[in-house]
Symmetry: C2
Subunit: 304 residues, 2 copies
Amino acid sequence: MIEVSLIGTGGTVPLPHRWLTSLLVKYKRKSVLIDCGEGTQISLKRLGWKPKSVDMLLLTHYHGDHVAGLPGILFSIANAQREEPLIIMGPPGLKEIIEGLTVIVPHLPYELKLIKLSDQETTTIDLADFRIKALPVDHAVSCLAYSIEIKRGRKFSPEKAIENQVPKTIWGLLQKGEEITLEEKQYTPEMVLGEERKGIKIAYCTDTRPIPEIIDFIKNADLFIGEGMYGSEDDLQKAIDHKHMLFSEAAQLAKDGAVDELWLTHFSPSLQEPEIYMEETQKIFENTKLGEDHLRKNIKFKRD
Amino acid sequence: MIEVSLIGTGGTVPLPHRWLTSLLVKYKRKSVLIDCGEGTQISLKRLGWKPKSVDMLLLTHYHGDHVAGLPGILFSIANAQREEPLIIMGPPGLKEIIEGLTVIVPHLPYELKLIKLSDQETTTIDLADFRIKALPVDHAVSCLAYSIEIKRGRKFSPEKAIENQVPKTIWGLLQKGEEITLEEKQYTPEMVLGEERKGIKIAYCTDTRPIPEIIDFIKNADLFIGEGMYGSEDDLQKAIDHKHMLFSEAAQLAKDGAVDELWLTHFSPSLQEPEIYMEETQKIFENTKLGEDHLRKNIKFKRD
């Protein structure tokens, strides 16, 4: 089971009633945080989060509303006595950004492992159980969309096990990936494993115009967290000028990408009542939810 | 009238129910902000503050809980279209800190005027109606206490005016500081001004051990905002080790400095119920208030 929590839903500047957009993804005691604007650590603490527990930090881009919380969270993590390395990844410029922002936290008790990602082509990185992909998108500065996939083991096939004359006592071990030698005969996982099974896929995409590459990138995601900077169609020119998305554009991507569910987030500070645009948005993609601070969801592997 | 607002009362890390320590002082449409930890701009907005309106930023030192909110607030001020310069002052290292933190807000539409203050001796700076003084204190890194004074014009003396045969029609102009020539006779402000009058003085002092120099520095302040990192006397060794103050130590400074009122602030995250130490603290200095987020006070010139 993967646990997804929307930490905030604001864009541009933090508001008293709306934290800046950020997402926490947890799986098997490992935590991935996407983006970290000012106040993200406070919103995380409201959720009961332990500063020590963040393992990877994925940055979409280096505008203040996505990274200004970085020195504060790094200090809080240090204050919580973390010693394990913390991985931070983001588009080109990462080293300079981290060097600049850590001027106020120069002596961390843990190592920062920086992974600079391409802003020209999709990168895939496997870390622990996570397969992380980063797609360059279309914003005013280099910006990445992320997907996080949890792969699932292949289905166990009792038919295949019987056909291959595998003793029942070692079925479980083979299923877990071990190779076993028994009475001079060798048994491999392949002898008991059947078809591939779909894992869990989360996609996160702010700030950008709705480029076609996003459709393939978010394809069949269980959950797509997409930017809804403006609700009204009248703001299209503003969205084009500042390289953001309308609710309707995020919904169209969700539809074309055939995702299960869309959460809208990254609302403009001028967007006081995002709910009034939901009816129109759901006409494009029905399973759209209006993001709200601390919206959570547990996603399980699908039964087959 | 001067308006003083405590923006937060926490130390070390921001908490969901306690913003980091910072103070806003307003006088005649000019605003001075002392310290700016993560979330300070959010707490300011809750007070109805306009990002454009901050004119001077005074930094005590460069630990994260006092400066990590800087890039965020600079961006919000830019976003509000400020064009007038913003003055930032702080102890040595200021330029490097600002250069580092502004890596995520490289193009501000207003100028940052940096004033590096000494960490060896007291500095006095007159800006608009404010007389700002900075005293080096005793913390783990270079750290300054600040006082802000609003000077008051000398009292008008009708006796002196009559004695100097000043025509009544120009009393007001002379009181305002103008020199007047009337029927070939010259009149100066000195001819109508009497004794000096006390202005308003605010003193702000975290993070430090209670060194004797502070007593003189806060002398006769109308309001002293002092650090109360720990409430219990059992935490004295911790206070000594980390260079912070106990409630009782701040109260003793308030008493020795003969201030009118003390507000305690900068509570340790471990200090869940600061109120339980107030009775003992008020035995040392009676007019002690427990600081709380958004505690405000208007201070007027005293009648004479």
